[in-house]
Symmetry: C2
Subunit: 322 residues, 2 copies
C-alpha cells in the first residue's frame, strides 16, 4: 500500500486532500496539519486548519465558504456579543463551537492535541490519519506597523491579521511563537521517514507548510526522506489562487510567483514542483534550481480536477524516483 504524507494547511490543503483521496483511494494517507493558526477564543481552543481538514474530508464542511460547518446557526456567537464578549470578527457557529468545547475539555483533562484530534476524527472518519504538527503550542504572529503610530511595530496573532485585518496592512515578519521549543507530535517524523511520497499541497508556503517545516526536526526529516517530495504551486499567474499568500510571502522576501515559491522551498527539500499551465515559462527556471518541474492545470474547480492534480503530483514523484 502506498504511503503518502501531506503537509497541509486549511482550505487549500483540505480540498487537495479530497482530490488525493479520489486519485489514490487505496493509499494510506497521513496528514501533518498546521496548528500555528490555532487560537484561544472565549477560553476555547480553536484549531482552524485541523478542523477544516476534518470537516472537509468528513463531509461536514460549509462548501462555498471552505471553512466552518454546513448548516450553521450562530446563537452562541450572538449571545456572546450580547454579553459584550469578543472578538466578533471570528465566525464561530454553534456546531463548530461543540468541536471546540470537546477539544478544550479533553485538553483540560490532560490529553495531548494529537489524542484529541484522533478522538474528534473518530466521529468524522476523514479517511486519512490526521496528525497535528505538534502537541506543543505554536502560535503564528505577524509583525505589523503599530496602528498607534510612532513608527513602532506590533505583533498580532495570525488570525487577527488574516481574518480581522484581511491582510490589508504590510506584514514585516512572520513569527511562529513557541516553534523553537516545540516537538513534532507523535508519529510525525515516523510517517515522513516511512513515506513513499511526500506532498506539499497548494497551501500557504509561509504560514501553513512553512510553519509545519519550522517545527524542529520536521524540515530535516522531509529533506532526508527516502521518498520523493513534490509540491503544487499555490501561486498561479503571479497571484495566490485563494487567500492572501502574497502578503506573507512578501514578509519573508519571496516574490509571488510559482518559480519563486519553488526556490523558497529549495532543491534541498523539493524533488518536484507542479506549476499551473499559465506559468509554463517558469518550468525552466525551476528546473535550473534543481527541481523537476511540470506545468499542468492547477485550479481545484471540483473534485475531479483536483484528483487530476494529485495524479500529476504522484506521477511526477514516480518520475523523480526514477
Amino acid at each position: 500500500m502506498q504511503r503518502i504524507v501531506v503537509l497541509a494547511g486549511g482550505i487549500g490543503g483540505a480540498r487537495f486532500l479530497r482530490g488525493l483521496k479520489a486519485a489514490a483511494p487505496e493509499a494510506e494517507i497521513t496528514v501533518i496539519g498546521n496548528t500555528g493558526d490555532d487560537i484561544h477564543l472565549f477560553g476555547l481552543k480553536v484549531c482552524p486548519d485541523l478542523d477544516t481538514v476534518m470537516y472537509t474530508l468528513g463531509g461536514g464542511i460549509h462548501e462555498e465558504q471552505g471553512w466552518g460547518r454546513a448548516g450553521e446557526s450562530f446563537a452562541v456567537k450572538e449571545e456572546l456579543a450580547a454579553y459584550g464578549v469578543g472578538p466578533e470578527w471570528f465566525g464561530l457557529g454553534d456546531r463548530d463551537f461543540a468541536t471546540h468545547i470537546v477539544r478544550t475539555q479533553m485538553l483540560g483533562a490532560g490529553y495531548p492535541l494529537s489524542a484529541v484530534t484522533e478522538a474528534l476524527c473518530a466521529r468524522w472518519r476523514p479517511g486519512v490519519r490526521l496528525l497535528p504538527m505538534s502537541d506543543d503550542r505554536v502560535e503564528t504572529h505577524v509583525l505589523i506597523d503599530d496602528p498607534e503610530g510612532g513608527g513602532a511595530r506590533k505583533a498580532v496573532h495570525f488570525q487577527e491579521y488574516w481574518v480581522r485585518m484581511r491582510a490589508a496592512v504590510p506584514a514585516h515578519a512572520i513569527v511562529p511563537v513557541g516553534a523553537e521549543q516545540a516537538k513534532p507530535a507523535p508519529g510525525v517524523l515516523e510517517a515522513v521517514a516511512a513515506a513513499d511520497v511526500v506532498l506539499f499541497p497548494p497551501s500557504n508556503p509561509v504560514v501553513s507548510v512553512g510553519t509545519i517545516l519550522g517545527v524542529p526536526g520536521v524540515r530535516e526529516a522531509v529533506a532526508n526522506a527516502a521518498a520523493p517530495v513534490v509540491g503544487l504551486s499555490p501561486i498561479v499567474g503571479g497571484a495566490p489562487v485563494r487567500g492572501m499568500a502574497d502578503k506573507v510571502l512578501a514578509a519573508v522576501g519571496v516574490e509571488s510567483t510559482a518559480a519563486a515559491v519553488a526556490r523558497h522551498y529549495g532543491a534541498g527539500l523539493l524533488d518536484g514542483w507542479l506549476v499551473d499551465s499559465v506559468d509554463s515559462e517558469a518550468v525552466a527556471e525551476v528546473e535550473t534550481a534543481g527541481i523537476r518541474c511540470r506545468a499542468v492545470p492547477l485550479m481545484m474547480t471540483d473534485v475531479e480536477a483536483t484528483a487530476e492534480m494529485a495524479r500529476q503530483a504522484l506521477a511526477l514523484a514516480e518520475e523523480v524516483r526514477g
Copy 2:
C-alpha cells in the same frame, strides 16, 4: 430605602423575586443565590440557580419551563452527542451555552464567581443585586443506594439525582461537599447585617435555602440579624408546590408539611412563616414553636398573585418587628 435580603434557589426563588420586585419596586433587594447545584459540564461551569434568577428577572427565561432561555436552539448539544460526549440528560441550549462559556472564561482568567455574576448581570439588569452564596466551590451530593447493589451506598451530584434520576430513588443524606471550607461571598454577611427584612422564598428548604445557610457564618448572620426573618412555605397541602422537595426533606428527617418545614428552620432563625390557606390548621402548631404564622394564598400563579404573597411576607415582617 427598604433593604430586603432574599436567600434564593432556582425556579421558585426566581418567580418569588419577580413578585417581590412588583410588590416593593423601591426596595433595594439583595439576592443570596444557591450555588450548591453548580456543576461542570463539558468543561464549563454551569450555575443553574444563579442563571434562573438572572434570566427570570432579566426577561430571558423560558417561561413555561421555568429554567433555561426562551427561544432556545440545541445545535451545540446535538453536536456534542454526535461526538459521543455527554451527559445528554442535562438540557443546555445554545443561548445558555454562551453564558457558561463567558463564565468559564472569566473564572479561568482568575475572577471570582461573584465578580463573574456581576459581569453577567450587567447585561441582564435583573433589578436586584445577585450574590452567589460563596465564591468557593460547594457541590451538593446525594447519598443513594448503589444501583450496582450489594447494599452499598453511592454519592451522586445533586443534578444527577434531580435531573437524570428525577429523584425517583430514596435520598439517604444530602452532603454539601466543600461547604465546611467555604466562605460567604463578599457582601453576603454585610447584606444580611444591614437588612431591614430577610426573606426565605418558597425555595427548597434543604438543597436551596439549606445549602446557603450551610455556608459557615451565614446561618449565624441570619439568626443574629436585627431584621425580621420571614419565610414562605414551599409545601402546600402536604406536597411541594413544584419540584420534589419531599424527597430531600425525607433525607434530613423532615415531614413534608408546612409546619414541619417551619420547625426545621426553627424559631432561632425564623420570626415569621407564611403557610398556604389550605394549611391554616398548621398556624397554631407553628406559633407554638415560637414563630409568628399566617395562612394566605401561596400559589405563584402569576406575577400579581406572587406580589401579593410578597406583600404578605413584608407585612408579617412589620408585624413581628412590632
